[in-house]
């Protein structure tokens, strides 16, 4: 029953999103750490593509009914973005871009966490039959 309770809400979607932001934060941190490494290629995960994948699954679930679709296998692909200026040492670093991306990523992460918390709170309220 608990399994169904957890999987019939938006919790699986939020959980995937959290995994994504955590993985992306790690890659962005790796890029910052290697900001002065010659020949280092920037790594990133595309938020747009991942959200597209999530949207597809959500639509699939909307047709099949709650709990019909699994989100567990959704995984963003590692990319080497080609944007920005290529320096002579073969690196396309951009500190400004990285810091903006990580700020947005952290905001997204905290936002998703808040949503999850709210959802758990609601569930707790229902279980206890009184506001927590």
């Amino acid at each position: 029953m608990f399994e169904r309770l957890l999987n019939q809400t938006n919790a699986p979607v939020l959980e995937r999103m959290l995994k994504f932001t955590a993985a992306r934060q790690k890659l962005l941190a790796e890029n910052v750490v290697n900001i002065s490494t010659p020949g280092y290629k920037q790594k990133d995960l595309s938020l747009e593509k991942f959200q597209g994948m999530l949207r597809e699954r959500i639509e699939q679930r909307d047709h099949g009914g709650l709990g019909s679709t699994s989100f567990d296998d959704l995984e963003a692909q590692l990319e080497n973005p080609q944007r920005g200026m290529l320096f002579h040492d073969g690196s396309n670093r951009s500190m400004e871009q990285l810091m903006t991306d990580q700020a947005k990523n952290a905001l997204m992460h905290n936002f998703v966490i808040e949503l999850l918390r709210k959802q758990f709170q609601t569930m707790e309220m229902a279980l206890k039959d009184r506001p927590v």
Binding site: A29, N110, R117
Partner: protein
């Protein structure tokens, strides 16, 4: 996620080593003798960074591959009275450009700061995740 902090630490260490090297260059900008006391202008040092952590190259991070000596020849200056002068009255001074060192130092300290910021943000993300439980 805790791994990010170790990775950030590897970045801090690398940038600090880079700053140390720059400080050494600046300190020895007029050094005309080597450690053995022989007449030899100090050679400029610089770090070569490589990706991968120092203890385990497979882990994401950064490490100092080696500290290299700048092969540029010393700069002779005409100082006939100087005891270090050669037969023609020239003293060999290290080939260190102060402005280049300053710029590199600035870059290293900015990169260090960026790493600190990154670690702070990652810490706040970990904290937020922990709040899910409590």
């Amino acid at each position: 996620m805790f791994d990010i902090l170790d990775m950030g630490a590897s970045g801090l260490t690398a940038q600090r080593t880079r700053l140390d090297t720059i400080a050494e260059n600046l300190a020895n900008v007029y050094t005309t003798h080597n450690a053995k006391g022989e007449k030899e202008a100090f050679k400029r040092r610089f770090v070569v960074l490589g990706s991968g952590r120092a203890d385990d190259k497979a882990k994401a991070g950064v490490h100092v591959q080696q500290i290299k000596l700048d092969p540029a020849p010393p700069i002779p200056k005409y100082e006939p009275g100087n005891p270090d002068a050669d037969a023609n009255g020239y003293v060999n001074y290290p080939n260190i450009d102060m402005s280049i060192e300053y710029i590199n130092a600035l870059e290293a300290s900015r990169a260090y700061e960026a790493n600190v910021t990154m670690m702070e943000v990652s810490k706040s993300m970990i904290n937020a995740s922990l709040r899910l439980i409590a």
